[in-house]
Amino acid sequence: MSPVTDPREAPLPARKPSGFSNLVLHLHPKLVPAAALPLSRTFGLGGGAAVLFLILAVTGSLLLVVYEPSPERAHGTVTRLVDEVPFGALVRNVHHWAANGMVLVTLLHLLRVFYRGGHLPPRRGNWFAGVALLLLVVACAFTGYLLPWDQLAFWAVTIATGMLEYAPMVGGLLLRAARGGADVGPATLARFFVLHVAILPIAMLLLLAFHFWLVRKVGGVILPEGSGDRASPRGALVPTSPNLTQREGAMALGVLAAVMVAAALWDAPLLAQANPGMSPNPAKAPWYFMGVQELLVHLHPALGAVGVPLLGVVLLLALPALGGRQPPTGRWFGSARGARHALVAAAVGAVGTAALVVANEPLRRAPPWLPGIPPAVRSGALPLAAMAMLLLGAAWLSRRRGATRIESVQSAVSFALASFGVLTLVGVFLRGQGMALVLP
């Protein structure tokens, strides 16, 4: 008896795999639980990120044929690529949109895993591998950002590497190690180039193999309780080929098509060649750093540039341990109550953050209140304490109103994520010249 009732979801009988699917099948077991097949289990996000990585590797290798990594030549080679090389603009656009898509899809994949309890034991190890992958993806996207050596690239990288200086004690050393000197220059480009085309992609490839292996080792993706019975907790098994492989193939084609359409419609930006003497106004970071950039407007740099990003990574790593001993239910948000609490927490976080941003707009230009208090306390330690209280408060309130421990942690995380999401949106759409609030 199959647990799947929708005839469209009914499993197909096993099929002899072709040469290509033989390769794909190497990553999979022969049989998979029928309950793992519906799209809403994973939304195919992990697989989508993997496909985007392959697209990036192929288009990146093509770019390498034309691109030259020196400050004198980089911008010229990208201009030539776009203007003269046949399909050069297309290749560059595909690389650009696949890169942005990969950051986005990886973040969505993280959310999917988290809101289904996939970060809790027995998948804790793979969550840690995932956090490392996330850092690699962002590092890859950011090192690539510098390579065209235009005004956008130069100043975004100046600002982002400048943040390292606020790391306690080793800040100056880290800054010079990242830039290869006091300022962004030829040594920075050399570093970022090697990282971008060799070190980071190879590290990502190795870690991805490990990531996939761990998914398989615990018996596949997390399933909702009640997918099977006592004897076989995962329910009925169906042949991987063609049941899973066909779905994966469709997903891969969909991702490829989406990237091609984006590449055909929108060109990757290329501003004038980098000018170290003049910052553009406004100077904007890539979108996945906009939340941090918005924090920088409001907070002491040691908190905005170093503290919050570091604490964010620590929080991600701590999530499995915060979940307690209960096993996850495998349902979205744990339960209907969990979903309600997460939604309310997210709404409060979003609205509260928006209100704070607007309220601080006149304040941050006025002379500082309480001038006797040093800025490190006024816009560093105090906001940090307030953030910690809000997070703990969200978890505590949720717990008091009947949430399980996992769900209360989920409420606090939803609060933080929504808040960061609003900061990102404000940074992307509402900041104009001189970082003033403007309508889009």
Binding site: T158, L174, P276, P282, L296, P301, P375, S379
Partner: protein, 165 residues
Amino acid sequence: MTAPSIEPAAPDRRDFLGKVGKGLGILAGVELLAVVVAYLAPGKGGAGRGAALVVAGPVGEFTPSSVRAFPGGKFYLARLADGGFLALSSRCTHLGCMVPWDAKQRVFPCPCHASRFDERGDVLAPPATRPLDLFPVVIEGGIVKVDTSRRIGRARFEPGQVTYL
């Protein structure tokens, strides 16, 4: 040399050796990291520095309460109302953008995160936490010169930082 023992090592000894092995491994990892960072971070002196004396011009060319940009040297030469000179680095102390000079409002507004500095380099509006860096000014025979090889960080403006005739 003692004969190798046939019995397996006692659990606490094996434990201990395991811990030593782990500790050495971590130590080796830290050393490796330090080597990589040191390899990547050049000395503070930096390459290509050295004599970078910019001749700004005769004293008389700079009227009091004026600010003139020297884009090549990435600094502004400010002549304060009392006739003293300050050479202000144009690199924002927040995260390193180049600040323009707004002559009408008499401020340096940073385009990146909206820090504002006055003509002495002091912070008027955060997020910057330190005033603009200085370069030493020397006046020799009525000619103002700025040494852009020596960047001076400071916590606040003090009268001692100003160079007079």
